[in-house]
Symmetry: C2
Subunit: 436 residues, 2 copies
């Protein structure tokens, strides 16, 4: 039976890495997970396929267009497009089994049938943490999250990043003081400050038919800058007399104070009054995180506070606060910016190469290495020694151990450092000490 050959390829918009890059990707994911666990978050793992009626309970908008939805038999199902809707469903469904505040982390793939575009993915990993309260959730939680972001990105190897903080109530209260009741479109315009500058925002506000003095006030407001302390003083001096603004300002002050107490250095967090977050379910604190030297990458970790997680699935009031790292996009961007290097990503420490007739001794040695927890491989194929060295080289395996007749007689084996080319003779216990 000679089969026709199907061209081996994947769909556009899906990321697939070489094993070397996959190792680096997994390391990032492990670091994120370890940090989430360090801060007391519990793992959940929900089905990728859910009932369409559940995923689309909120309905409308881009979601409905982008979702992968299909039938099998009579069942109408779809792939999840984020981890927040499954969380809402999970908490509502398992409400009586959970302890609140419920701190959960979830690292998994989500699906969006977006227009095909460089750097946009249709399948991507999200790494989410959320803290869900039962009825209430203390504002200090909003201050702990930035310390998790800080700890995570520090351990990922970054120093120069800024967690930008704002509060939707501050924005809404301010807009209310200008008699703007429906703030959605104004917030969307403000949110673009980063990308389109003050003039761009002004243009967008003009399109909304706002009066000039209103536009000027907004421009002035989102341009307030300085240290966190200075910004808060400026906000206090505005003396805006509405309840929403006052509550928001109190919250922002508390959050900023406690972020410091949770150990985030002053240089790594900053109030930014232009951060609005387009998503309409945020109701208080909002966050975005930027790499200082690569602002064009955009926010690498975003989130905020919401009043009620699961309105579509339960009558329980479940306020929460959370952030998310879009790992697939982040990895792609870091790679593009040359901040991730694929060399030296090998997990395997040593390749044992047995010469002809020395296989049994080779196996004896690899057994010992693995007993000691040393990640290692034995080369079992026949062929030229040069090919075997080149195999180690291509995989970035740092050490090769040659097991030949001479070596066996001496009880000492040749350890070659593949980077320097240096060779040493060692007995098995010395090999283990060296590789451990």
């Amino acid at each position: 039976m000679s089969a026709d050959i199907v061209k081996p390829s994947i769909l556009p918009g899906f990321m697939e890495l070489t094993p070397q890059d996959q190792i680096l990707f997994n390391k990032m994911m492990d670091t994120i997970r370890a940090n989430y666990e360090k801060f007391g978050f519990l793992p959940i793992d929900t089905p990728l396929i859910e009932k369409a009626e559940v995923l689309l309970a909120k309905g409308g908008g881009e979601t409905e267009k982008q979702i992968y939805r299909f039938q099998k038999g009579d069942t109408d199902m779809a792939l999840r497009f984020d981890l927040t809707v499954p969380l809402a469903r999970y908490v509502a469904q398992h409400y009586s089994e959970l302890s609140f505040p419920f701190r959960r982390y979830h690292i998994g793939k989500v699906y969006r049938g977006e227009r095909n575009q460089k750097g946009r993915f249709r399948e991507f990993y999200q790494c989410d943490i959320d803290i869900i309260g039962n009825g209430t959730l203390d504002i200090v939680n909003d201050a702990e999250l930035p310390s998790i972001i800080y700890s995570t990105f520090k351990e990922l190897g970054f120093d120069a990043f800024t967690i930008k903080i704002n509060n939707r109530k501050v924005l809404n209260g301010f807009l209310k003081s200008l008699n703007i009741e429906d703030s959605t479109y104004v917030l969307r315009a403000i949110d673009k400050l980063d990308k389109i500058g003050v003039e761009g925002v002004e243009k967008e506000l003009n399109n909304l038919n706002l009066e000039d003095n209103i536009i000027n006030s907004i421009k002035e407001f989102i341009s307030i800058d300085g240290t966190n302390k200075e910004i808060i003083e400026r906000l206090e001096k505005l003396d805006i007399d509405n309840e929403v603004f006052k509550v928001g300002l109190e919250e922002l002050k508390t959050v900023v104070k406690y972020i410091g107490l949770f150990g985030v250095p002053e240089g790594n967090y900053k109030i930014d009054l232009s951060i609005a977050r387009g998503l309409d379910y945020y109701t208080g604190t909002v966050y975005e995180t930027f790499l200082n030297d690569y602002p064009s990458i955009g926010s690498i970790c975003s989130g905020g506070r919401y009043d009620n997680l699961a309105t579509y699935y339960t009558k329980q009031k479940l306020p929460g606060v959370g952030v998310s790292i879009g790992l697939t996009r982040l990895f792609y961007q870091l790679k593009e910016a040359n901040l991730i290097k694929s060399e030296d990503s090998s997990l395997t420490k040593a390749l044992v190469i047995p010469m002809e007739g020395c296989l049994e001794k080779g196996i004896e040695i690899i057994n010992r290495l693995r007993e000691e927890g040393i990640f290692s491989q034995i080369y079992l194929e026949k062929g030229k020694i040069s090919k075997k060295f080149s195999y180690a080289d291509k995989l970035g395996i740092p050490y090769v151990i040659v097991v030949g007749q001479d070596e066996i007689e001496k009880g000492e084996y040749t350890l070659r450092d593949m980077k320097t080319g240096e060779q040493q003779s060692m007995c098995v216990e010395e090999l283990i000490n060296k590789l451990k």
Copy 2:
């Protein structure tokens, strides 16, 4: 806006765990992954959605019926139903970038729209390893895989398990000696020995219209028992004079010899001539693994050798050998057999409970614990102390640290062991030493 409430539920046939069980599930997954990496396997992660023409290149059979297949725009796509087809596609597609023998592991979810049945899942994790050769692959690789199975299940906490080994060429050669050319249906019958016993197999063979003396020979053959050495001696004495049988027997002898050299104790592996593996792509060594005390769970790790991985995608000859652990089903079965206990699964070591007015000191302490890498949480909500203790209790957090006014003055904090109820006063450094 008061939304209608959608009942929060998931589709039947999907596993969703409590956070406590998820921690245990993840621990098993971590152990499997760590063992795969220790033996020099490289990770890959392929899209869950692939082109339907790629996934169904082989076509036919159960696969086509069970697959989740759907269109979006003009694109015909489907969810992967195993990790082997994506591996074949991956190796064919990235052939020139890979180094052979290519050792890859892949842990991920796969999808099969099976009939709904207790203990059968439509979404489940597979944990696969395969070694792919370029043109050839030494038989000794077939002996290394059982040592990985052994190492993995040992570390998962099992002792009494048996890796059953057979060789398809031995079976095929034997059947050929009986003049049975198309062995597929006979092999399927033999493969059921475990489940239906010798009489059951006899019945199935009768249905295939085989003569009685042939059926007797098959029965005798699959009943050959003894030590590995004895079984091989019996096979040699059969003196079957065909090339397929001879090659198979040589392979089996080599594999059994080297499994021992790779350090698997004699008690944990055994030739079993009834192991055939229904899948038609196996061509040599085949494996199944059973828990001695729970045979009804069925095989917990299976696989084998195949001549050519990727016939549907490339003309390159790519022989390989691999095994797979079906983790979702395994976890479910272990849980059903009461071999997995959800208590004490907490990752979090300590819960810091600050009394009123002591929040800042509480944060100072939690910062120190986390700096030292101690997984810990601070309770930030207001409420009765008893409720806070009960929170730690429900989550199985082993220690609570109470931070009150008295404690702050003394510089010593109350550490409560939640299991014994024992309390001790300690300064922060002592807390750290105790919890580390």
